[in-house]
Every structure is written in C-alpha cells, then in structure tokens.
Symmetry: C2
C-alpha cells in the first residue's frame, strides 16, 4: 500500500507480547540491520536476532524502545488507539495502522478511545486505520468481542462511528488475499474522505474504515500438542506453546516440523538473506514503516516559540501584601504559547480548562469539535474543527493523545484537578519508563517533556493562591520523567 | 413499579452533582426524616434539609455516605455500572436502577463496563436497568453520545448487548408518561427473561433492556438568564445557574418564578408536609428504594466460613532450609473459602488467576461465562455460568464489581500482578474515602475489607519466594482502608 499509494505510514501494535510479528518484518525489510549492524542479514545475524528476543540486554516481547519503528510499548494494555490518534494529529499525510488486541479491547481506556474519531479533523490531521485482531483468547480466557455474535460486534463498531470490514479465516493463502484487498479498500476510502474534506475546505466526520481480523491464536502452530491439548486456536498457544522441546524428542520434532512449514529454504538464500523477489515487495528506503521519523519523534521536534515567562509574572512590590489569581495569570502566558505554535502545541484536559481559569487560551485556539453542532454552541461554546484544545471526559484518552503527540515530535500540556489526576497514575509511570529506557537507546532522539498541570493541589485556599511557575516549566529540554507543574487554584468549581 | 410488581430495587446515580434529584425523593418518601429526625417533614425540617445540601457537616452534591440509599458516591466518574453489577450478583431478586450521565459515559471504565452483561447469570443474579441520561453537556462542553446520530447511538448500545428504549423530549407531562410506560416495559422484560431462565434452569444472555433518556440540562430552569445566555438546555445550567440572586433583584425574581413553577402550594400542606395523595404513590415502608438494606450492606453481611489459615502453612523444620511455592500454597486455603461460601464470596481478576498459581480454586468455583461457548473450552477452560471467579481484562471493571459486591454485604478478593494494579489506584483511594466517611455515619454498618492480592511484588525471585499471610488476611472485621496482601510470586508468566 505504501508503494502503491505513496503513503506516509507507521504501525502501532497493541497486543500483549505482540511484537514478534512486527519485529520480524522490520528485520526482513532491512531497517533492523541498518540500525543494529551486528544483527546482520545473514545466518549469524539472524541467530543473534532470535537470541536477543525477549532476553536481557536484547529487546522485549512488546514493542519496547529498543525496537525500531515503535512509539508504543504495550504491556499495560489500553492505549494503542489514543497513542495512534495523538501521533497523527497535525500530521495530515500520516496513516497509523493500529493493531488492537481483543484482550486490550476489554480495557476501559481502549473501549472509550474508539471515540477519538470525533476529534479528528480530516483536513489538518492524518488518519488511524485500526485492525481489531480477534484471535479469541487472552492468557487463559476467551475474549468478550470474539465470542459475541457477529451482528453485535458490527453494531458496536458502527456505534463507535467506524465502518467495519471483516477478514476472517485460517487458510493462509486466501486470508493473505482477503487482507490485501481489504487494506486496499480501506486506504482508498481514507484517501477519498481526505480529498473530499481538503478540496472543499469543510471538515466533517467520515465513518472511517476499520478492519476486524479473525484469525486463530497461535496461527500455524500444531493444532494439538503431544498431550492432546489444543494449541493453535486456543489460549494454550499463548507465550511458549511447546514447553518441553529441550528434553522431549517428540516435542522437538513437532517444533521442527512447524518451523519447516514456513519453508525457509524458499525464502532465504544460502547465506541467510531474504531472496530479492521478496525483498522488493517492501517499500523503498525512506518509506519503510519501521523507519518513519514519527516513531523517533525527536528527529522532527522543533523548539516551541516561547515568550519569557517572567514577563507574565504578577508584580509584587511588597512581600505579604500583593495578592492575585494564579491560574488566570498563567493563562496569559499559556495563551501566547497556543497562539505562537499553532501546529505543534495542543492543550488537553477532561473538561476543566474553563473551570481551571484557563479560558483565555480559547482566544488563540478553540476546542476541537468536528461535527454535531447546535445553535446554543454560539453562546460561548468555543468549539471549532480547527481547535487547539482537546477536551473529552476521559483522562485516559487525553493523556494517551498527549503522549502520542509528544512522542511523535510535538509539545503539549494536560490540565486536570489534582483529585482526579490519579486516574492516569499508571499511564504516567509507563510513559516515564519509556523515556527512561529510551535514554539508553543511542539512536532515539529526545522528545519534549510531558507537562501535566495539576490544579487545586493539596488544599483549597481562600480567594487567591500562589502560583509556582518555575524555570523547568514548559521547557523543551530532554526530561527523564514527567514534569509536574503543581499550581494550586484559587477556587474549585466543578 | 416497586408497588406494581413487588420489586426489590435500589438506585445508583452516576452523574456528577446528580444527587439532588434522588435526595429530594428520599426526603419525600419519608426515609430521610426517619434517618435524620431533625430534618423533619415540615417547614423547619425542609429548610434544614435545603441548608445542609452541599454544605460542611451536611451532605454532598454527590451521593455521599451520609445519603440514605447510596452505595455509590460518584465524583470520580466511571464506576456506576460496575458497582451496580457487583451489588446484584448473587442477589437474584434485586434490580439496580442505574443512572449513567453522558459525561460519565465518556470515561474508559464506564465505556467497557457496559459489557458486564456478559457476566450476569439470569438465574442466580439480579439485574441492572441502566438509564443513560443524555442531558447533552458536561461542565463546559457538549458530550459525545448526545451529539452523535440517533442510529449510531442505538447501534452502540445494541453492540454492547443491550436493547435500548428511547425517552426524549422536554414537555413535562408527556415525558413523565413516556418514562413510566418505558419503565414498565423494561421491568416486564427483565422479569420475563428471569422467569424463562429460572423455569428452564438454563442460563442465557438476554439482550437486557436499557433506557436512553434525553432531557434538557437544567430542565425547568429559565431558558435564558437576564444577560441573554442560555441556561436550560445548555451547560450554563451546570451547578448554580443564577449566580447573582443575592444582589440582583431581577435574578431573584427569575429564581422565585422558577421555584413557584413547581407549584409547592399544591404539593405540600400548610405545615410543609407532602400531601397524602402524593405520599401514597411511594412504596410502603420496607420497600422504598432508599431503605433497601443492600445500600447499607453491613446489615446483610454474614461472617465468612473460614478454616484456620495456620493449617495451610508450609511446614518449616529448620530455618533457611525449607523452600516451597507461595501462591499455590495460598491457593489451597483460598480454595476452601470459595468452596465453603458459594453465595457470598467471589474472586475477581483481569486474567491472571491461573498464571498467579491460584488455579486450584477453579475446583470449587469456575470462571463466570454465561454464553458463547466453543468445543475447545472443554480443554481446561474452567468456564461456567455458575462460576465464582470473574475474569475480564479490565482492572476497572473487576475492581468495580468487587466494590459493589462488598458494599452490598458480601466478601471477595481481587488478584493482579503488582505492575498493573496501579491502574486502579484512584478507585481504591475512592473506596477507602467512602469507608472512612462511612465510619462517621452512625447508621452505616461495617462492610467487609477490600482484599487485593498483589502478586510479583517488588522483585522477581528465583524458583520460590516467601508467602506473607498475616492475621489480618481475609478477616471480616471492619477496616478503614483497603487491606493489601502483598505476596511475592515465584514466577511471572504473563
């Protein structure tokens, strides 16, 4: 598709331990060996590639920072779609192919993040093409979406505002053809909607396409192990399907037959390099998914245009006498940041920007709302498809958007009341872990800090409270953890 | 409906600051004054009732512990449905009328909790009747579900597995009639499905009914304030619609007209007591929603049947020599608890009970799975509609179920890997806050502790690790905060 339509695309993989399918392709298209020359495209390199998989000092079974082409580790499930949307906002050419596991689909954050399509401007933003991959099982359980009736599932996806296409089966050849044809249909639909919106200049909300892929868990594994237990198409194929190969010759034989079923002798030359006919199927250098600069966002990052924040300070003539509002003072500064960085800075929040006294920023950028307007919205609604402020009552989704936006090379800030920000504790932990690990990966370029403005911190004060804006605020320097701006607010009014 | 069908029902209110509509009814049906005699059913009592609303020492604008008939405060949004389901599990006669705000509906935890219907056994459990109340606005923003097309919304609800009924409008009289008729239809449907399942003895998953209620935000408020800004039907009616009544005679007049539009002189006698004709509409004593013992679960709570946990200890003859597994040792004890408390103890978890080495408990109670079976499930699937273990890959939902189950007078345990349990940090905080506050409310009876088993804590050890089961484990005594059992596990295998 990238070659056929000259796409700017990358991939996000949500499923737990779902990295192998992508990493192997990143190796086959050459990017892995270019990034890690010791893992060369020959027998020795391939062996090292296998050995480093899910091994200390190597790379994880998730899409960890060591993995080329990744901005989304997974592990803690739920954020693949919100990260994908964050990455394509203000990247009008980009398509994020996003694989959502059916385990992940049960999480709350993922369940509501399907609604991100209501906040995508088809003119100024790129697009997300989700693949809901129903292999039917989690670690030890069936999954909800794989077991409900087909009509129920289609109804759910339509209700979320998507146009679902189903690719289902287990015959390798026909499934490959069906997937290719469906992907083609979806890409053409995306391009058509974008063309309509961009030529007319009118933003609307298309029912964007998405793919429901039903394939067996552990596809190509033996259907049963030597004990007669199901492997392929059952949860026993999770992680290590054949556990006794080191000591059990029969299992070792099963494993060998399974591996040989891929016919490696037809795919690789004598030295262990992919044969040229297959290699040519991949996009040319500079266009491969795993080298998309969006997935190493520091490469794209430009400094924010910033005024000197000292110029916005409340003037204090005598200690203990002057008083003034904290948040609205800060809003004057934040307003200039929004105004001067219209394509690289967004403000996120669950629904508290106005009640946090930051309403001034709406003069520089309204709230993103693509369609579904009422006359009342004229009365201070501050809505626009071209807004710069994003408000959805899902802390998980706005935090996921912000992380995706930052990791793909831009800047932003999330504001929320301190009592409710704990909702995204674990997300901030995971982001900090990603950043910390990224510092050990030589080719990863620094991204902007994750700015979270906590309001109404610790206690409620009287009419006024102090503002603690320190030098680290809103800098664009490399940070290893989230920079939390703790600013008490004068009144809490939600 | 309670009178007509002799129902056992209570109500959960999700919307932020959504308490007034319920609290006023609890006062009108008499329970409030019986519980708080100073707030009597006369002018003085009513005035005190008004003054204590959202006031220190009084009760909140959410359904706080001081409010009769409540097990769900709200405030932090997202848990109304999971709490409701938790409360009706193993309460076969109970219907939880559950009001979901359209703000709350945007949260992740709420979005996935619609799927709780897949875990409800129509024979042994009660039922949840959700009312998705679309008043169209959050604090300062329109809501997603109120602005998508009707067909999209209906499709979404059907996709979640519900049968939606729409009640929409703003004419008071016809809306009351429509709501009453729709409620009647829904209750009859619920009773019909329960009858079918219970008479046949076959559990199935009905497409349970739910109601979509579209009514104006700030319904009955003036359409516009004196500045010409929209109030009724717009977000400006959030919280305090008329803010200047103390100083502005014109606004005071608007407020008076608004209040008089309720015609209090026709509703109350001279002393300020509701007239008998209206009072008789409420259910009789013992059946009113706000006195349902489920909402003061300690009243219903019975001690767990427990073996002496010391009998399950690993025998240690010499220090530093004996080694053994922690989790599977604990599982022998937990197995007896599940076995001996088949109607009052459930184990929850995202999908880690087996990999946490607790699989032994499936011998006493399988995993709840109501329908959608495949032949492979016979291969160690451990699924049953009558299971006692509940696994859904949503930490939010299983924690919400457990909280609802405990608050309605039962016992339970949630197990999860420590790295992922942070996902529900804020929920545990909120639950602890509820318990802490409940201790100050004289009529609230103590509920069981919230037992969370964190596995793989702090570090991964070798083959074996120690088990830290202390006396406080799984007791049923009153606790002020969640009791966390920290038990390292020998191997982490997800």
């Amino acid at each position: 598709m990238i070659k056929k339509y000259d796409l700017d695309a990358f991939v996000i993989s949500g499923p737990g331990h779902g990295a192998p399918g992508l990493i192997s392709n990143f190796y086959l298209e050459g990017v892995w060996s270019e990034t890690y020359p010791n893992t060369s495209e020959d027998k020795e390199g391939m062996q090292q590639f296998f050995k480093k998989f899910s091994f200390p000092g190597g790379h994880g079974s998730h899409m960890t920072p060591e993995v080329v082409g990744s901005i989304h580790e997974g592990g803690e499930l739920g954020y693949s779609l919100s990260h994908a949307f964050g990455a394509v906002f203000d990247h009008p050419k980009t398509i994020a192919l996003t694989i959502v596991g059916d385990g992940e689909s049960e999480t709350g954050p993922l369940a509501t993040s399907w609604h991100s399509n209501k906040f995508l401007n088809p003119i100024k933003d790129g697009c997300v093409l989700p693949v809901l991959h129903l292999n039917g099982y989690k670690i030890n359980n069936p999954t909800i979406l794989a077991r409900i009736e087909e009509e129920e599932l289609l109804s759910l996806m339509r209700g979320y505002g998507w146009t679902p296409y189903v690719v289902a089966g287990n015959d390798l050849e026909s499934m490959h053809q069906a997937m290719a044809a469906t992907m083609d249909t979806c890409v053409k639909e995306i391009l058509k909607h974008q063309k309509t919106a961009r030529e007319s200049g009118k933003a609307f909300r298309p029912r964007w396409p998405m793919i429901i892929l039903r394939s067996p868990k552990g596809w190509t594994a033996p259907r049963k192990n030597d004990a007669g237990q199901f492997l392929e198409g059952f949860w026993r194929s999770h992680q290590v399907p054949l556990t006794k190969v080191l000591n059990d010759p029969e299992q070792l034989n099963m494993l060998e037959q399974w591996m040989r079923s891929y016919r490696p002798e037809k795919l690789f030359g004598k030295e262990g390099k992919l044969i040229p006919e297959l290699r040519e199927l991949a996009p040319t250098k500079g266009h491969r998914m795993s080298e998309n600069p969006i997935t190493n966002g520091g490469l794209l990052r430009r400094p924010l245009r910033l005024k000197n924040f000292r110029d916005f300070a409340l003037k204090v003539d005598k200690p203990g006498v002057t008083s003034g509002p904290s948040m609205s003072t800060f809003a004057d500064f934040l307003y200039t940041i929004v105004r001067d960085n219209q394509e690289s800075f967004r403000v996120m929040g669950p629904d508290e920007t106005e009640s946090n006294k930051l309403g001034k920023i709406y003069e520089a950028g309204k709230k993103v709302w693509v369609n579904g307007y009422l006359p009342e919205d004229e009365d201070g609604g501050n809505l626009s498809p071209e807004g710069r402020v994003m408000e959805m009552l899902s802390e998980h989704t706005v935090e996921g958007w912000l992380e995706g936006y930052i990791l793909s090379g831009r800047h932003g800030l999330l504001n929320s009341y301190e009592p409710f920000v704990h909702i995204i504790d674990s997300m901030v932990n995971q982001h900090a872990k990603w950043i910390e690990k990224s510092l050990e990966v030589s080719w990863r370029q620094a991204v902007s800090s994750l700015n979270i403005l906590l309001t109404s911190t610790v206690w409620r004060q009287g009419k006024y409270s102090f503002t603690a804006l320190v030098d680290s605020t809103l800098t664009t320097t490399q940070t290893t953890t989230a920079s939390l701006i703790r600013t008490p607010v004068s009144s809490l009014s939600s």
